[in-house]
Subunit: 420 residues, 2 copies
């Protein structure tokens, strides 16, 4: 594989490709380092090689940290797991028109096995976990990751332990427990859950916590969102991406995906402006951005966007740096704006997103209203999860007619109502 | 296009390709007739042409009743609508093992834009509606169709009216209203709703009811499930398909898809045995099958599988004929078996299905237990909709641990619990 070692993001110390996530020298986060020289410099050949791959993230295996990536999906779910990625990128002209923008695309990651982008990161973490000999999958989750880990473990035939905040939406609890995982509700918020999992991870040698000891592999999965966007735009870069921020990992790894491919010559031109989106009720990165700070002050989350409710975001400083260097920014929106964002996206595109996508759509609307987006910009809105997972957020946002099964009642109630 | 006319299934009377669904001579249902001779007889060339198409149902345009099928999806959702189809076919060895079967595949239609197979039929009905000049989409729905019509109308920028039984699951109501459709709750069951829509359809000339006046076009969408299965199995036929029955349309059209391609030489061999699956609480077709009857006696539905709750199934007689002629059958399962079916599929494949898929999985289990399936058979289980839509069905089917965020509590509660 082209991954060569783990490298500390802070002090550049190097480690073998094991289940490690923290630098022993400086406690900085570890990332995957690559040597892509074996891929050669024939860009056309490399593109054809990617296009000949399966319709899922394994088409990007050359850029992922696995010894033996699974073959085409479908052959045997117990070997290859659930097929993640290759989700639609849809041009949303009616959304653009409503916001007074030129060109808006929606990357719709609800088209994943458990309907969020977490299937990407879990696919990679779980495959690497098996390569490294782990026999049990585990995670700390705000909800979507719980669904993804429980489902992937079921597909692979591995036992799993999923730790969630006890107050998680019931939808995400039901959609996790159904897979037969060991579901652990922890009395506390996500940051409490995460601390507990870090401790458990140190004590259970055969457990692969996808977002703790497997984190460097896990995080690389988010790069595939960028690869797909670029491939779907005909091997070109967008001008701007609007992406939700929880830990900051997705936001920074999407940018890493674009820059990796640009360095390899697969893409040309300026890197996209990166705009981060947070819920006001949990906006440590947006607050630090506005204050001009380099680090985030932890907060206690209070928002309907629970999948973004990380009060102490691990990659906050890197997200801040990226937003500033790329010419983007980081904004936050209220819960009412989130609900309006969900409705706006649904009405103009037919895509129903969870609260996190409401955050992203509302942030795009805010950028548009502020005049931050040029008329000729090509903007990609990254929708990370499905509206079916946070149905409570749309309860009461629309009205229905109630009639008896008679044509007269239909005319009197519905048609009269529609004409008002 | 290769569609030539509408043809009465009963008396073979012919009509132009308009918005008609019932024969004026004998009141039989109208179907699409084709002349595929323009496709030629070079099977390899035809396969390559299909494979070069987009990753959605429009790759099968040569076999669908549209003048001008949309191009590759993604270009502009307001023109092409939501991208349906090309859902995964996954080999489920752990499910097969649990049931003592040889080779089981799951066709996972939860990977559609609104997470059910209805996106296929709506895609075709709505495109044809636009070709015929309609300006409004409408439907009578048991839930999944409501989601699909409201979403597709939003994507295409068309107004829509969705008629549902007032007692539908709240998940499906919320996941429909969010798109800004006119949502009409009718006090009655699906058959009452359907009768009302038939009446409204006769009175509103600019409304395309996808499953009333557009029904012949709509129904053709289900053939694409068969096309995909055959293509994904390397241009071969499965030995047996297990498919849910509501109106009977999906069941019969999947068989039509296989036989059409066999006649064209795209596939060889025996047609699959077709097994229909119903919920005992709404099993008019299974009851008629068991009684050796040719027609179904209408019933009042009482089952958790509301998406299959059609008490007076329009295609019941054709489903009976198909089950008998293909060497399959039609079975029914209890609500408890449905819940167990949902859990079985989730635990062994990582696929979370709604109640309809629980019906199908439980029926497969019943066939296996009865010894109806040969050891060397290749069986395809058709999963039509997503578990997130009927979460109530899994509430109470599993237990969770509840702990404080401390390692001691984790060890005492979770690990002790897991060991019991």
């Amino acid at each position: 594989m082209s991954a060569t070692e783990l490298k500390c993001r802070e002090c550049a110390a190097r480690y073998p490709l094991e289940a490690r996530y923290v630098c022993e020298q400086c406690f900085g986060p570890l990332e995957i380092a690559y040597d892509h020289s074996a891929l050669g410099d024939d860009v056309s050949a490399l593109r054809r090689r990617i296009q000949a791959g399966p319709q899922n993230i394994w088409r990007y295996s050359d850029f992922l940290p696995l010894d033996a990536p699974p073959g085409p999906s479908g052959r045997n779910s117990s070997r290859v797991g659930l097929p993640a990625g290759c989700t639609p990128l849809i041009r949303a002209d009616r959304l653009a028109e409503r916001l007074g923008l030129g060109e808006v695309w929606v990357k719709n990651d609800t088209h994943n096995p458990t309907h969020s982008f977490k299937d990407r990161v879990v696919a990679i973490a779980s495959q690497r976990a098996r390569e490294l000999g782990f026999d049990t999958l585990a995670c700390a989750s705000t909800g979507n990751l719980a669904n993804a880990v429980a489902a992937q473990a079921a597909a692979l035939g591995m036992p799993s332990y999923v730790f969630i905040p006890a107050d998680l939406e019931e939808q995400k609890i039901l959609a996790t427990g159904v897979y037969g995982t060991h579901l652990v509700k922890v009395a506390g918020n996500y940051d409490d859950v995460n601390r507990l999992c870090t401790e458990v991870s140190g004590e259970r040698e055969n457990w692969a916590f996808v977002n703790v000891n497997m984190r460097p592999y896990y995080a690389e999965g988010s790069k595939t969102v960028a690869y797909e966007i670029a491939e779907q735009l005909g091997w070109t870069l967008p001008d701007r991406c609007v992406v939700p921020i929880a830990s900051g990992s997705l936001f920074t790894k999407i940018a890493k995906g674009f820059s990796e491919w640009t360095e390899l010559g697969l893409l040309d031109g300026d890197q996209p402006k990166m705009n981060g989106a947070q819920a006001l009720g949990c906006s440590p990165v947006a607050a630090a951005y506005e204050a001009g700070a380099d680090v985030c002050r932890p907060v206690k989350p209070d928002t309907i966007a629970k999948s973004l409710a990380i009060g102490n975001p691990a990659d906050g400083p890197y997200a801040l740096e990226l937003a500033r260097e790329s010419g983007g920014g980081i904004d936050s929106v209220t819960d009412d704006e989130i609900r309006a964002g969900i409705r706006l996206l649904a009405e103009t595109t037919g895509i129903f997103t969870e609260t996190a996508g409401g955050v992203t759509t509302a942030t795009l609307a805010k950028l548009a209203e502020r005049g931050d987006i040029g008329a000729d910009e090509r903007v990609v809105l990254v929708i990370t999860g499905d509206g079916l997972k946070t149905l409570d957020a749309v309860r009461g946002t629309f009205e229905a007619y109630e009639i008896t099964p008679s044509f007269d009642d239909f005319e009197a109630t519905v048609e009269q109502g529609a004409r008002i």
